[in-house]
Amino acid sequence: MDGAAAELREAHRLAGHADRVWSLAWNPAPGAGAGPVLASCAGDKTVRIWKRAPDGAWQCTDVLEDTHNRTVRCCAWSPDGKLLATASFDATTAVWEYSGCDFECVATLEGHENEVKSVSWSPSGSLLATCSRDKMAWIWEVQPGNEYECVSVLQGHTQDVKMVQWHPHLDILVSVSYDNSIRVWADDGDDEWHCVQTLTEDNNCGHSSTVWAVSFNHKGDRMVTCSDDRTLKVWDTSADLSQPKTGEGHESWRHLCTLTGYHDRTIFSAHWSSEDIIASGAGDDAICLFAEEKNSMVEGPSYKLILKKEKAHDMDINCVRWCPQDPRLLASASDDGTVKLWELKGSVLD
C-alpha cells in the first residue's frame, strides 16, 4: 500500500425505493461464481435486491412486495445465504426462500405486540432473534418444513428495543434499546435464556440516550454501539464467552473507549469490517470511518478517525454495511430513498 490518504469514493447510486431506506444486508454466501448480492428495505413496504451486472452497473433484480403492509424496517440473510428474514412495523417477520433467482415467502412469524425493529440470525443459522417496541426480544428456533418456534421471550428492557445482533461465533445475543442500555443474553446450557449483563450509563460508562445499533468485530472480542447521544462506544471482553452463564453478574464486557465529537446528530448505524474498520452513519448525513490506533501513547487500546465523508447523502443515513466479499466496499442507506456503494481507497491501516 502506498501512502495515499484514505478516501471513500462514491461508486454507485441505487435508486428505486419510493420512501426512506431503513436497512441493508449483504448476502454472506451468494453462491459460487456469483457476485455480491445486497438487500435493502424501506418505508415503501418493499425489499429490493441489487446485483452487479456483467458490465459492472448495479441493478435491482427483485422487488419483494405485497407481504408486509407497513414499513419494512430490517432485513437479514441466514448464514448459508438461502433465507432472507424481513422485519416490519406491521408486527410480523417474514422469511423468504432464495433459490439464486427467485424469492418466495415461506413463513410469517407473529407474536410481537407492535412494530418489529430488527432481526438477526445466529451464527449456525438455527436460531433467529427479533425485537420490538413491545420491549421484548424473541428467540425463534428454525425447524424443518419452514416452521419457526418461539423458544424464549427475553424480558428486561424497559423501553422499545431497537436492534438485536448475534455474536459472530457463539449463541450470545446483544440487544440495544430506547432505554439507553445494552443487554447481553445467553443460555445456561439448558436452553434457558437469561440476561447476563446490562451496560448502562451509571454502571459501565454506557450511553446517555437511545442506543440504535451494535456491531461485533470479526474476532468477536469487541463490539461497537452507537447512539442518539452522538457517540460511538467500543466494548471489549477477555472472557471465555463459550462458557455457559446463568443470571446476571458475569461482567464480561467492559467499556474500552468513547468516540465523541465526530457526528453532529444521532448516529443510527455502525458496522465493523473484516479488516477491523468501523463505519458509522448518522443524521448529519455523514459517514465516518475509524480504526484502532496502533501507535498509541495512551494506555490501552484507542480508536482514531480515518476519514469523515460529509454530505454522503442528502438526508439522514440509516444504515452502513461492509460487503463480506469485499472489505473495501461499503453500502449506505438513507432517508433520501437511495442506497450508495462506496469504495475505500488509499492507505488506511498503518
Binding site: G43, F89, D160, D264, G283, D285, K311, D314, D336
Partner: protein
Amino acid sequence: MVMGLINANPVIHEKKERYLKCSIGYLVVVLNVFLHHIRDIKDPEHPYSLEQLNVVTEDSVELNDESNHVRFLMKLTLEDSHMVCTRVTFTPTVEHCSMATVIGLCIRVKLIRSLPPRYKVDIRVAPGSHSTEAAVNKQLNDKERVAAALENPNLLDMVEECLSPTFD
C-alpha cells in the same frame, strides 16, 4: 405519564379537539409567515415588517409568537453547508399538557410537509412547561417512533383532522 404515540386514544373530547385545531391553525399562520421570510432571508433589500420577526444574526431568524393556546418559538439556522436545522419549541398551556405529544406530532407533520426535505427539525416542549418533558421530547425526536405512529391509521386521521383548514 407519557402517551405512547401509537396508542393515542382516537376519541378526543370536543373541547380538546377544538384546542388542538386552534393551536395548529395558529401554527399554520405562523409557519406561513416564517416560510415566506425564509425565502427572503438572504435578500437585504426586503424589509422585515413584522414586529415579531427578530433577526438575530445574518444567518438565523427567530420567530417568536404567542397565542392564548400554545406559544411557539421557531429558530432557523441557515448554514453554508447543506445542513439546515430548525428547532421548534412549543409551550402547551397547563390544562392541555396531556396533548403535548399529539401537538408535537402535528407540528412535525406540518413541518415535514412544508419545509424542503433536507431540513433537520427538532421539536421540543419548552423547558419547565411539562412534567415529563424529557420523555415527551425523546418521543417527538425519535424518527422511527414518529414514522411508526404515522402508519397508525387512527393517529394519522387525527393529525390530518388537526391540520385541515377549519371552515366554521
